[in-house]
């Protein structure tokens, strides 16, 4: 039978020096999750320029519609490219650690849950670094 008791505050960030690998994984997952959902709202807002662009066939054909020019304008900014690299890092970590969490939930590889967290971090770093040239193509500082 399950037992009810007051667990108190589950994440006491004041005790961060005592956190284990699993706790850091939990915190990073939450932090990257906040960024991703925040980004989703921003993403839909930017893509909403398609509402103004739709129907203006001449502008669409000339690629001068508000959707194309807005996205093109943003992509011309070095800061945006840098933020995109950051977003990739955040998304890749959330995906890899998410796979790790699904495994943990299924009870697979529990004894290696700390190692799989470190592996998620290393793989995220490697994929992010390898993606930098692609993300910075055709933009000046």
């Amino acid at each position: 039978m399950s037992q009810s008791y007051n667990r108190g505050l589950i994440e006491d960030f004041g005790r961060w020096k005592e956190f284990s690998a699993g706790m850091w994984a939990w915190i990073f997952h939450k932090f990257t999750g906040w960024i991703l959902i925040g980004y989703l709202f921003t993403h839909i807002a930017v893509l909403s320029t398609s509402i103004g662009a739709a129907g203006n066939e001449a502008a669409i054909a000339n690629e001068t519609d508000v959707y194309t020019t807005t996205l093109g304008g943003l992509e011309g900014l070095f800061l945006i490219r840098l933020l995109e690299v950051g977003l990739l890092a955040v998304a890749v970590f959330h995906i890899l650690n998410g796979l790790r969490l699904l495994m943990v939930d299924l009870g697979i590889g529990l004894e290696a849950q700390d190692k799989s967290f470190y592996a998620s971090l290393v793989l995220t770093g490697a994929i992010t670094v390898a993606s930098v040239p692609t993300f910075l193509t055709g933009v000046g500082i």
């Binding site: 589950i10 959902i37 839909i44 995109e84 933009v139």
Partner: protein, 121 residues
């Protein structure tokens, strides 16, 4: 068994849906990033190109489902994170109501945007 430090009720609907959407999002988020940054580059995106992709019904439906599952997964995650931080009582109800309204608005706006990209509006 070790104590569970999660606000999700194990075996509950919220717990289950968070994991089902996670499994879907792992694949679709990776596909989305790959397609729009490595196959097509973000700086080359035009309305014409977006329209061509969205005219494929499979792609269109995948993107709408992506929006719905991502919104649910993200907002449900935020809600549970706040509950873990000690949110309760009236505050908890108000936060839930605000998050539900924000989610519905995001899905409605995103679906409208997807329809304009497909040339249906």
């Amino acid at each position: 068994m070790a104590e569970r430090y999660s606000s999700f009720t194990p075996g509950g609907t919220g717990w289950f849906l968070q994991r089902v959407t996670a499994a879907f999002l792992v694949v679709v988020l990776a596909f989305h990033f790959f397609l729009l940054h490595f196959v097509n580059h973000a700086y080359e995106i035009t309305f014409l190109g977006t329209q061509a992709r969205m005219e494929n019904i499979g792609y269109f439906l995948t993107m709408v489902l992506f929006l719905i599952t991502a919104t649910f997964h993200g907002v449900n995650g935020v809600y549970n994170a706040l509950v873990n931080q000690g949110l309760e009582g009236t505050q908890k109800k108000v936060v839930l109501a605000v998050l539900v309204i924000a989610s519905l608005a995001l899905v409605a706006q995103g679906t409208y945007v997807a329809l304009t990209m497909r040339g249906m509006i």
